[in-house]
Symmetry: C2
Subunit: 213 residues, 2 copies
Amino acid sequence: MAIRYPNGKKYTPSVPANKKKSYDYSFSNRGKSLEDELNDTNEYYLAHSLAVIHKKPVPIQVVNVRYPSRSAAVITEAYFRTPSTTDYNGVWNGFYMDFEAKETKNKTSLPLQNIHLHQVEHMKQVIEQSGLAFFIIHFSLLDRYFLLPFDVFLPLWNRMEDGGRKSITLDEIEERSIEIETGYQPRLDYLQAVQQWIQQKRLDIDSERQEEK
Amino acid sequence: MAIRYPNGKKYTPSVPANKKKSYDYSFSNRGKSLEDELNDTNEYYLAHSLAVIHKKPVPIQVVNVRYPSRSAAVITEAYFRTPSTTDYNGVWNGFYMDFEAKETKNKTSLPLQNIHLHQVEHMKQVIEQSGLAFFIIHFSLLDRYFLLPFDVFLPLWNRMEDGGRKSITLDEIEERSIEIETGYQPRLDYLQAVQQWIQQKRLDIDSERQEEK
């Protein structure tokens, strides 16, 4: 039933600017960005001594700083710089972990244009040093999260470099990555997916050894 | 011999502002800061696929950004934030490495006032997850560098917390840390010291096992 002003004009509730998105957030993620969810998860891991993972600060080139008396230094001129690494890294159970988080509103594929060459180069260097490198991908409209190992991602990146498609399909992701189950605390327990991935890697190595015998 | 102007006044060469420090830099380090030297070393490690170690960007709280047309975004108001971790981390040969660099002009001890509680807390969390945590210390006037493992540092930090001395003496550092030999390329090859440290740790574990038998 429409509410009307005394003059008969229909009342339309004003929506605050920050709620105007047409985006239908499910109750479960309460409109949090992937970055917020990962920060919450990492805080939980830290508080419970499960892992030490931090988001790296955005690199900024500071040009001018003012020092007002009796207060904190104010940066008055600065510029964003391109990061030379991924956004997240840290240590879990002796493993070096390094990942990039990517969110898409696309329902059928992850566009590769948001992944930068320097991030790919960095992750190559990480796996050369026996670190764990991966992507955490969020299909926000499907509310599904995946852990995509870097060594699985690389051939799909190379396909694009060789002139192939500029995205990874959801089918390919479902096939090759570990889906992260969302829970209550932490909501996005990606370490479980990391453990599954490592177990799978070990099984693969063992079965290769069996075959060699 | 003093050089004089035609009017007899003595000529004093003007020294550029950035060279005014009285500090007597030896030729070997060419006035580079420890941070510059570590950045050079880390670049060398990266270029030669030896390790992937980066300095974390300084965390900055951005308050205002201007977007002039046809040019890069300009940050016009921002503030420095306190870092929640150490400055350097990365991966080498499967090991997670995490360290803080400290430089002192003091010739006989390292004052502890430049080391922050949150850094110590962070390094505790790192060793709980089986990462390698340490300090790289530069006595600039002696031109000596040391790798001080965090587990050796911690009792000396606790001594201060219990009301003891607010510094670590050079003698204590000589006794308990690995001196980093400076070379040509890279000048500050701290990975050698890390390797020595790990070998020593393994020997200690082995001799403990021998004693148990």
